[in-house]
C-alpha cells in the first residue's frame, strides 16, 4: 500500500478532496427545492405583490420598499390620498437581501415613479446577501434564484449554507413525500394563489379569518389590494425590543456593509438616470428604548446618514422622529398595530410634504 512517488501521494490528496467536494456539491444541488421548514408565506406573498405591480406597471406610482416594518407599518391608501399618487407597499421581510427586494421592483419601474426605501437597520450592516435564513428560503421555495446567479455568486451562496441544512434538505428530498408536514408545504401554483386572493378582495370589507392567529398574520391572505398587511397580533415587551435593536445593529458598534452601499449606489444612479425618484426613510422604533444621545447610537445614525448624503439620496425625516409608544407595537419591535400604522404613515406624509412632494391629480 506504499506509494513510491510523492507525486502520487499529492495527487491522491487532491483527488480525494475533489471527489468528496463533488459529492457534496451534488448533494447540495440535489436538495434544492426540498420542502424543508421555511417561511412559505413569503413565496405566496411575493406572487401577490408581483401581481399588484403587474397591474399598475404603466401607471405613475409610489412604491414602498422594505421589510416587514413597511408591510405592517405603512398605510398605502393614506399616502395615496395624501399625496395624490397611486401607492403600493412591497414590504415583506427584513431578511430578504437588499439587492433581492430591489430586483423585485425594477422590472416595473418607469419614468416618474417614486421609490421610498423604508429599510430596517439591519440592512445597513448586512455583510452579505446570503444569510442562513435567506439561503434556506431560496433553497426551499425559489431555487430558480440560485440558478439565475452568476457562477461567482453561486459559489458564495453555496458557501453560506451550513452542511447541516444540506443534510436536512437531502433527507427531506428523499423521504419528504412520506411526511405529512412536508406534503402540506407543497407549493401552490401562482394561479391558485391569485385566484384565492382575488376572491378575497372581491368580498366587501374583506378580513382574514381568526385575527389572533400568527399563521393568518403571516399569510398572503393578509395582504390588501395596496400590498399592506390587513391585521397583526401580539404584544411587545421592552426587554425583547431592546434585544431586537441590539441584534439589528443600531445599538452596537456600527459595521459598514460594503455590499449594501454598493447596491444602493448602483440602484440610485441607474434609476435616477431613468427618471425614477428615490427617497430613504426610517422604520418605526419603540420610544425610549434607544438612547439617541448615546455615542453608539449617534455613531450609527451619523455613519448611515453620511453615507446616504454622499450618494445624494434625499432622506425623509430622521430616526428619532419615528419613535412610538410600545403599546403601538405587535409581536416584534418593527411591527405596528393599525393605530401605530396610521400614526407612522401620517408622520411620513408630513416628511413628504416638507420636501414639497405632492401630486394634485392622481
Amino acid at each position: 500500500m506504499k506509494i513510491s512517488s510523492p507525486v502520487k501521494y499529492l495527487v491522491t490528496i487532491a483527488l480525494t478532496l475533489s471527489l468528496v467536494s463533488i459529492l457534496y456539491s451534488a448533494a447540495f444541488l440535489y436538495q434544492l427545492g426540498a420542502l424543508v421548514a421555511a417561511e412559505y408565506w413569503i413565496y405566496e406573498s411575493r406572487i401577490v405583490k408581483h401581481e399588484l405591480l403587474k397591474q399598475i406597471q404603466d401607471t405613475r406610482k409610489l412604491i414602498i420598499v422594505g421589510g416587514s416594518s413597511a408591510f405592517f407599518g405603512i398605510d398605502s391608501s393614506l399616502i395615496e390620498k395624501g399625496l395624490g399618487i397611486s401607492t403600493y407597499n412591497l414590504g415583506l421581510h427584513a431578511g430578504l437581501p437588499f439587492d433581492f427586494i430591489l430586483r423585485e421592483i425594477t422590472p416595473y419601474l418607469k419614468h416618474g415613479d417614486i421609490v421610498v426605501l423604508h429599510l430596517e437597520y439591519n440592512y445597513y450592516t448586512f455583510p452579505t446577501p446570503y444569510s442562513v435564513w435567506f439561503t434556506d428560503q431560496i433553497m426551499a421555495f425559489y431555487p430558480e434564484y440560485f440558478w439565475q446567479l452568476k457562477a461567482r455568486e453561486k459559489i458564495k451562496f453555496s458557501f453560506s449554507v451550513p452542511p447541516q441544512r444540506v443534510l436536512a434538505g437531502v433527507m427531506t428530498k428523499m423521504m419528504g413525500e412520506h411526511l405529512e408536514d412536508v406534503r402540506k408545504r407543497q407549493l401552490k401554483s401562482s394561479n391558485r394563489i391569485l385566484g384565492l386572493i382575488h376572491a378575497a378582495w372581491a368580498q366587501k370589507g374583506y378580513r382574514p379569518d381568526n385575527m389572533h392567529s400568527f399563521d393568518n398574520m403571516y399569510s398572503f391572505l393578509n395582504i390588501d389590494p395596496h400590498g399592506d398587511a390587513i391585521f397583526g397580533t401580539g404584544q411587545l415587551n421592552r426587554e425583547s425590543a431592546a434585544q431586537y435593536y441590539k441584534i439589528e445593529g443600531l445599538d452596537r458598534d456600527f459595521v459598514e456593509s460594503k455590499y449594501f452601499w454598493e447596491v444602493l449606489r448602483d440602484f440610485f444612479v441607474n434609476y435616477r438616470a431613468r427618471g425614477v425618484d428615490v427617497y430613504i426613510t426610517w422604520p418605526p422604533i419603540v420610544e425610549g428604548i434607544l438612547d439617541f444621545n448615546s455615542q453608539r447610537v449617534l455613531n450609527s445614525v451619523r455613519a448611515i446618514s453620511e453615507r446616504i448624503n454622499e450618494i445624494g439620496i434625499p432622506v425623509l425625516g430622521n430616526p428619532s422622529e419615528f419613535q412610538y409608544d410600545i403599546g403601538l407595537f405587535l409581536d416584534t419591535a418593527y411591527h405596528l398595530t393599525s393605530q401605530g400604522k396610521t400614526e407612522h404613515t401620517n408622520r411620513l406624509l408630513g416628511c413628504f410634504k416638507g420636501k414639497g412632494i405632492y401630486f394634485p391629480s392622481p
Partner: protein, 516 residues
C-alpha cells in the same frame, strides 16, 4: 497575514514556494536565501510597514552585538560581557516598551491615582518570540556555541516567516546549518510531507479549535460581564478552552513546521501530546517544548536550578514560571497563571522528594484538573472574571446558573445551527409520548449542551487516545516520505474537505498565540 488566511494559503505560500524552488533549481542559492528573506518581509509587512522595519532594526542591532560578543579573544572577556548585557537590555527594553508599557502605566496610574498617558498599544508581529530567539542567540554567541555568523543566514534565522509570529522558538545552531543543506534536499518528498503537516495543522485550527471557541467564548464573556456561571457551565467552557488552546497552538505549530518542511527545513517540535501527561513536570516536557527549553537553559539553570538547596530550587521554579506567565501577556491574569504553575511544579517536585508513588490514572486526573483550572486564568479578560470562573469551577455558584429547570429547558430545543435537521426528525414523528407529554429525542440530542458534549468527547478522544502528528507521520523515521501511504493521502484529502466545510460556517479567526 495569518497562516490560515485565504491570502496566505492560495496566494502567498504557493508563490513563495514556486519562487524558492525556481531559484534553487537554477543553482542561485544566495538569491534563494534573499528570496526567503524577501518573502518573510512581505509576510511581516502585510499588515503594515512598521513590523518589517522593526524586525530589520532588531536584526541589525543583534547581528552586530552578536559579532562583537562571539569574538574569540579571551582577553576581551569583560568587554564582551558588557556588550552582551547591552544586547540583552536592548532586546528586553524593546519588548518592555511595546508589550509592557501599558500594563506598567496602568498599574502606576491605579496605585498612584495619576493619569500618565499611554506610550503605545501597538504590539509588533512576533516580538515576544523574536526577543527570546535573539536573547538565546546572543547568549550562545557569548558562550562560544556559535563559531561564525553570516548576515543573510542570520536574517533567515530571525525572520523565517512560518515561525515568525508564534514560533517554534528556534536556536541559531539548529536552524542556520540547515539553510544551505535544505536547498539540496528540496524535493517533492519534502513538499508532500510539508503539505501533510500543514493540512493537519489547518484541520486542528479551523475544524477543532474554532469549533471549541464557539463553546469556550460565551463562558468567558459571561464572566467578563460580571455574571456568575453554574459549575457545569463553567467546566463546559473551561474544558472547551483547554482543548481549543491545544488545537489552536499545536495546529499553528504543525502548519509552521509543515511550511518549513516545504522549504526543506526542519523546525523543532513544540508539542508531544501534552494532555497525556500524568504530572505537571511531564506536562512542561510536552507542552510548548521550545519555550520550556528556553526557560530551562537561559533562566532556570542560570538561576541555579536545583543545585542550590531545596528552598532556592522552589524559588527558582517560581521565578521562572512567573516570568513565563508575564512573557505570555502583560496582565495580572497571566502572572497568576504563571504563579499557579510555579506552585504546581513545586508541589510536584516536593511529592517526588517524598518518594510516595501515585497511580497514573490519579496523576492524570489531578494534572488535567489543575491544568484546566489554570487555563481559566490564562483565558479570562480580568482577575475578577477569572476569580468568578474559579468560584464556579469549585461549585460555589451551584450546578446550573438557571437551576435544574433552566438546564432542562436548554436540553429541550435544538441548537440554532441544527434546527433544520432537528425539524426533519420532528416531522418524521420521531417522538416518545408520556401521557400528555411528548418528547422529541432528536431535539435533545441536537441541543446546545449535547453538541457541546460531543465536541468535548471527540476532543478528548483525539487528544488522549490518538497518536499525535509526529507519531502518526512517523517523523522519527529516517525516511518519512516512505510512510506516506495512499491511506494517509485519502485521510488528508478528507481532512481538507472538513476544513472546507467548517470554513462555510465560520470566518478565519486569528491564532491565540499571535496575540502574544
Amino acid at each position: 497575514m495569518s497562516l490560515n488566511s485565504l491570502d496566505f494559503i492560495f496566494l502567498f505560500l504557493p508563490l513563495a514556494i514556486i519562487l524558492h524552488c525556481l531559484l534553487v533549481k537554477k543553482g542561485l542559492f544566495h538569491l534563494a536565501i534573499v528570496g526567503v528573506i524577501g518573502a518573510s518581509a512581505v509576510f511581516a509587512g502585510w499588515r503594515n510597514l512598521v513590523d518589517p522595519t522593526l524586525i530589520l532594526f532588531s536584526i541589525l542591532i543583534n547581528y552586530l552585538v552578536g559579532l562583537a560578543v562571539c569574538s574569540k579573544s579571551s582577553a576581551q572577556k569583560a568587554r564582551r560581557k558588557l556588550i552582551l548585557i547591552f544586547g540583552l537590555t536592548a532586546n528586553l527594553s524593546l519588548l518592555a516598551f511595546f508589550k509592557y508599557s501599558k500594563f506598567f502605566l496602568d498599574n502606576i496610574n491605579a496605585v498612584m491615582h495619576t493619569a500618565n498617558p499611554l506610550v503605545t498599544i501597538y504590539l509588533p508581529l512576533g516580538i515576544s518570540f523574536l526577543t527570546l530567539q535573539q536573547i538565546a542567540y546572543l547568549i550562545d554567541a557569548y558562550r562560544g556555541h556559535i563559531k561564525e555568523i553570516n548576515f543573510l543566514e542570520y536574517c533567515v534565522f530571525c525572520s523565517f516567516f512560518p515561525k515568525l509570529s508564534s514560533g517554534p522558538i528556534v536556536r541559531y545552531g539548529e536552524l542556520v546549518p540547515q539553510i544551505v543543506r535544505s536547498m539540496r534536499s528540496l524535493s517533492l518528498g519534502v513538499l508532500a510531507e510539508g503539505t501533510t503537516l500543514f493540512a493537519i495543522g489547518l484541520f486542528k485550527k479551523v475544524v477543532l479549535a474554532d469549533s471549541m471557541a464557539h463553546y469556550a467564548d460565551p463562558t468567558f464573556h459571561t464572566a467578563s460581564f460580571g455574571r456568575d456561571l453554574g459549575m457545569v457551565e463553567a467546566w463546559g467552557g473551561v474544558l472547551a478552552y483547554t482543548f481549543q488552546l491545544y488545537f489552536d497552538f499545536s495546529g499553528y505549530t504543525d502548519m509552521a513546521i509543515g511550511i518549513a518542511r516545504m522549504f526543506g527545513i526542519t523546525l523543532p517540535e513544540n508539542f508531544n501530546s501534552p494532555y497525556k501527561a500524568t504530572n505537571i513536570i511531564e506536562f512542561w516536557m510536552r507542552w510548548h517544548m521550545t519555550l520550556s527549553r528556553f526557560l530551562r537553559d537561559y533562566l532556570y539553570i542560570p538561576l541555579g536550578g536545583n543545585r542550590k538547596g531545596v528552598l532556592r530550587h522552589h524559588l527558582n521554579l517560581m521565578v521562572t514560571m512567573l516570568l513565563c506567565g508575564l512573557w505570555h501577556g502583560a496582565s495580572w491574569t497571566f502572572v497568576i497563571w504563571g504563579a499557579l504553575h510555579g506552585i504546581y511544579l513545586s508541589i510536584n517536585h516536593g511529592w517526588r522528594r517524598l518518594g510516595v508513588s501515585c497511580s497514573h490514572a490519579i496523576g492524570w486526573i489531578l494534572t488535567f484538573i489543575a491544568l484546566s483550572m489554570a487555563w481559566a486564568w490564562f483565558r479570562a479578560d480580568s482577575v475578577p472574571a477569572a476569580g468568578r470562573i474559579t468560584a464556579s469551577l469549585i461549585g460555589l455558584n451551584g450546578l446550573w446558573v438557571d437551576g435544574f429547570r433552566g438546564a432542562l429547558h436548554s436540553l429541550s430545543k435544538p441548537a440554532p445551527e441544527y434546527n433544520y435537521l432537528a425539524q426533519f426528525f420532528v416531522e418524521l414523528k420521531v417522538a416518545v409520548s408520556f401521557g400528555r407529554w411528548t418528547i422529541y429525542p432528536v431535539n435533545i440530542l441536537l441541543s446546545e449542551p449535547f453538541i457541546h458534549t460531543y465536541w468535548l468527547l471527540a476532543s478528548g478522544v483525539i487528544v488522549l487516545s490518538l497518536p499525535n502528528t509526529r507519531e502518526w507521520l512517523d517523523l522519527a523515521n529516517q525516511h518519512p516520505t516512505a510512510t506516506l501511504t495512499i491511506r494517509k493521502a485519502i485521510f488528508i484529502g478528507v481532512l481538507l474537505f472538513f476544513v472546507l466545510l467548517a470554513s462555510i460556517s465560520s470566518h478565519p479567526s486569528a491564532f491565540i498565540y499571535e496575540k502574544f
